[in-house]
């Protein structure tokens, strides 16, 4: 396991990945401390629903009461972006979790056993990959009914094929290695061989992809919410918050940038969050490249 230590040290030394890690850590703190930073109204109120300060539609600029201002419908932007951090982590981690699990299982089966199993699984991934991800996700969400849960399901369904393929490819590479032959020669079962030997070596590129993908997943989820196919109106979700700003990108004549806060603030949160993960993933890739080349 010195590989991991080596990798960790590399990550910290690389300035870009360090920046990414810091960004992610800051967001993690915001998410964890959300109930303190932006206390929800009590009772049965779902804390993910942004409290409204009135019902008028016009956004209000930042003030003492609403430090980031309010967006259309008087939803507090500060509350929304803070709790939106939680939503973002939830979506990213849950989807990646599912996708990794499914991808690893199916990819390993396809790669190790080959033959018919491989063909079938590959055809299935072909089917999913023949469709632009966002549009397929849209179709799935609109059928299940828009909500953050259906966004997670849709994104998981759409993303797993790439992982299955990746794992499969790596397993294929690793399969012919000597130590695999040796294990089999010693009588180890296929399952054991896969889990203990093939997988750990195949997993690095997958990790790279996974960390890059968290950012992409959150972006897609935000896009779906923006299009009205994700979190319901008033839910603390960055994409949803941005969609509120859609009608206020131009203020009254004479003050066209009046409602800038409604547009820029939620977008900046998305940008930085995704940036953090992308920096991390990019650094991962750099670190792993020489390792792969070593093989």
């Amino acid at each position: 396991m010195s590989d991991w230590k080596f990798m960790a040290r590399q990550l910290v030394r690389n300035p870009l990945s360090l920046m990414g890690i810091i960004i992610i850590v800051v967001f993690a703190f915001i998410a964890i401390l959300a109930p303190l930073v932006a206390p929800p109204p009590g009772g049965h109120w779902n804390p993910y629903l942004i409290p409204r300060d009135g019902y008028s539609a016009t956004p209000q600029p930042p003030s003492e009461e609403h430090i980031f201002g309010t967006t259309q419908g008087q939803y507090d932007i500060f509350y929304g972006v803070v709790w939106g951090t939680r939503s973002a982590f939830r979506v990213g981690l849950v989807v990646i979790g599912i996708v990794l699990a499914v991808g690893i299982i199916l990819g390993s089966l396809a790669g190790y056993f080959g033959g018919v199993i491989d063909e079938v699984i590959m055809r299935i991934t072909d089917i999913f990959l023949a469709f632009p991800a966002l549009i397929l996700a849209m179709a799935i969400v609109s059928v299940i009914g828009p909500s953050l849960r259906s966004v997670m399901i849709a994104l998981a369904v759409v993303s797993w094929p790439s992982y299955a393929r990746l794992i499969r490819g790596d397993i294929l590479q690793v399969r012919e290695e000597d130590y695999i032959e040796a294990s089999r020669g010693l009588g180890a079962s296929s399952g054991r061989v896969i889990i203990r030997h093939a997988l750990p070596n195949a997993i690095y590129p997958t990790l790279v992809m996974a960390s890059l993908d968290i950012g992409a997943i959150v972006l897609s989820a935000a896009a779906l919410s923006f299009l009205g196919l994700g979190a319901p109106e008033g839910y603390a979700d960055w994409g949803q918050l941005t969609s509120f700003a859609r009608n206020w990108i131009v203020g009254p004549p004479g003050d066209p940038l009046k409602y800038w806060y409604a547009v820029t603030i939620p977008g900046l949160f998305i940008l930085f969050f995704v940036l953090g993960w992308n920096l991390l993933g990019d650094a991962f890739r750099d670190i792993l490249d020489p390792k792969l080349a070593r093989r």
Binding site: R13, G20, I22, G43, F68, G254, W260
Partner: protein
């Protein structure tokens, strides 16, 4: 690694980036104050563009150009420009008429026979001449088509006393509309429909089409045998779906679905000069695009959702018409027989975690809810003070509206009183939970639901109502299947008669809303029937006054507001006047004009 930034430098940079996010509020002190742009008095100038062309931007595409099909405002609007009817509304009046394709008409002493004399010298866009046969054909064709959910019940009920095509024979349809020389004769089923019939004749469904042209293009050929082939067609199977041939001021030039409709001037129009060479209606869903188009002179008229009216204040080059009395009413309906498969009722019993299926049959529950709604907040924030609260379906502008009718007010004490009495005190003790549903994108309904939910919670924390958005596509099916505990829906007038409002809201069988929400009050049903057929205005007034009282005593819904409308034009458009029955938002385009001075 670059030597310029040490590692520490990167860390600091990253930390600064994150901090800046948090410290942003500090930098956000009213950029509006820092704005140095001088506000021109009266706002920006709107340039004059597109001379001779009227450009309107709206949301929502038309369903069909076939006058017999369209039952939505967008379709009605275009039909109104392309086709004409026998008579038309006189200015802003809803019960005075001017002659259009008929130049004379009379109601015979028997009270059920109308005769209309058809004008001479009127031409269709494709060259045909208007004749009484065209008129007869238009009505009969429409009745034969009678598509599901269409407007033709408005012919069937007054003429034949039945609901639709399946209830009559071809001979009946034939006899209802006949040609007598240069006259067309309508025979009504009951004298009570004499006044509404004139109003119905002004609607887009009563447009006159060219018989020969239709037959040439394989529409109904006029015989009994061919009639079943043209009954209830698919939307796109009617030739008139996307082809037009009317007598109106403009003819169809191009329909680019979901993008725009372009109409061009009909030079052979019988009535003289046509005010615009082109009428272009573009479908623009984004409010910002529409706003900027209006302010840049690229559009003469746009649809302005109510929540954005503040942005167009104080602009001298815009003409705004406000306080327009629309014949609309929204209600927050109680479902008195919720379906067993409903997922919105929590546990389904009165145990504090749900509501039973007949929850709203208890009068105290309904009254309590009616008192718990903050009408003033809704009026101020959502309607921007442009609306009138109603106590019943008979709204202002309909005959026999009672301005002193009793209405509920926001009164937490009374709400508490009724809710404490509800279901023998169990409601107050145990509390309840259920879900309010609104259709996505409808801000007013969302806010209305939230107001109700918050107020109920304020009365008693055990009253926990959650609010959920659904797609419009799911909404209708779910209304029919009765799964919603409460639902917010509205009605728009087909024709300005109190019966047209009373029935859908309150009649247990025929009422669109009352039926699906299982509202039943025998006395109300009787009164509605009486009111429909009563000829004597005094007696009719008494009936509808009583109905309004009953609507208060046995509420079917929380009656919300009759909203007042607004219309926005650039200053270059003149001649607009408001008549609530004109289908299109831009209004009586044929009486309007556009000029730079």
């Amino acid at each position: 690694m670059s030597k310029r930034f040490s590692k520490m430098g990167w860390i600091v940079l990253a930390a600064l980036l994150c901090l800046s996010l948090v410290l942003m509020p500090g930098c956000t002190t009213s950029p509006a104050e820092q704005e140095e742009e001088e506000e021109e008095p009266g706002g920006p100038a709107i340039p004059y563009k597109n001379d001779g062309i009227f450009v309107a931007m709206t949301i929502g595409d038309i369903a069909s150009l076939d006058p017999a099909w369209g039952y939505d405002t967008a379709s009605g609007e275009q039909t109104d420009y392309i086709y004409e009817t026998l008579i038309w509304w006189d200015g802003e009046s809803a019960d005075q008429f001017v002659n259009v394709l008929a130049d004379d008409w009379e109601l015979l002493p028997d009270g059920v026979t109308y005769r209309f004399h058809i004008r001479d010298g009127v031409k269709f866009h494709e060259g045909g001449d208007l004749s009484p046969e065209d008129v007869e054909y238009s009505f009969e064709r429409a009745m034969i088509q009678d598509r599901d959910g269409g407007p033709l019940w408005m012919f069937y009920v007054p003429l034949l006393g039945v609901g639709g095509y399946g209830d009559v024979t071809f001979a009946d349809i034939d006899a209802a509309v006949e040609v007598d020389g240069e006259w067309v004769v309508f025979t009504l089923d009951d004298g009570a429909f004499a006044a509404p019939w004139l109003q119905i004749l002004c609607g887009p469904w009563a447009s006159i089409v060219d018989m020969e042209w239709c037959i040439t293009n394989e529409e109904w050929d006029g015989t009994e045998g061919d009639a079943p082939n043209h009954n209830n067609p698919e939307r796109q199977d009617s030739y008139l779906f996307d082809h037009s041939n009317g007598t109106g001021h403009w003819k169809l030039n191009l329909w680019d679905p979901a993008i725009q409709i372009k109409l061009e001037k009909f030079d052979g129009y019988w009535g003289g000069a046509v005010p615009f060479d082109w009428v272009i209606t573009q479908i623009v869903d984004e409010w910002t695009d529409r706003k900027l188009a209006l302010l840049n002179g690229d559009a003469d008229h746009v649809y302005v959702p109510r929540q954005y009216i503040d942005e167009l204040e104080g602009i001298a080059d815009l003409t705004i018409y406000k306080g327009l009395p629309q014949l609309n009413l929204d209600g927050f309906f109680f479902n008195q027989d919720i379906s067993e498969v409903s997922t919105y009722v929590g546990s389904g019993t009165l145990d504090g975690n749900g509501i039973p299926r007949d929850f709203f049959t208890d009068l105290d529950v309904r009254k309590g809810f009616c008192y718990a709604f903050e009408y003033d907040t809704y009026l101020e924030d959502i309607l921007k003070n442009e609306g009138e609260q109603m106590g019943s379906p008979i709204i202002d502008g309909l005959a026999h509206y009672n301005p002193d009718a009793l209405m509920y007010e926001y009164d937490l004490a009374k709400a508490e009183e009724h809710l404490k009495a509800a279901w023998g005190g169990e409601v107050w003790e145990k509390g309840f939970k259920f879900t309010l549903v609104y259709n996505t994108g409808n801000d007013a309904r969302k806010s209305g639901s939230e107001i109700l939910a918050n107020n109920l919670f304020a009365i008693n924390p055990k009253f926990q109502v959650s609010v959920l958005a659904t797609q419009w596509s799911s909404t209708l099916a779910q209304i029919v299947s009765g799964v919603y505990p409460m639902f917010n829906i509205g009605w728009m007038a087909d024709y300005p008669d109190p019966d047209n409002f009373a029935t859908p809201f309150l009649h247990s069988e025929e009422g669109l809303f009352a039926h699906y929400l299982s509202y039943y009050n025998a006395e109300v049903d009787d009164l509605i029937m009486q009111g429909r057929y009563e000829l004597d205005p005094t007696a009719r007034k008494a009936i509808y006054y009583e109905l309004q009282d009953l609507a208060y005593e046995d509420p079917a819904c929380i009656y919300l507001f009759q909203p007042q409308g607004r219309r926005y034009f650039t200053k270059y458009i003149k001649g607009f006047y408001f008549n609530t029955m004109i289908p299109g938002n831009p209004g009586p385009l044929h009486d309007m004009s556009k000029s730079e001075s």
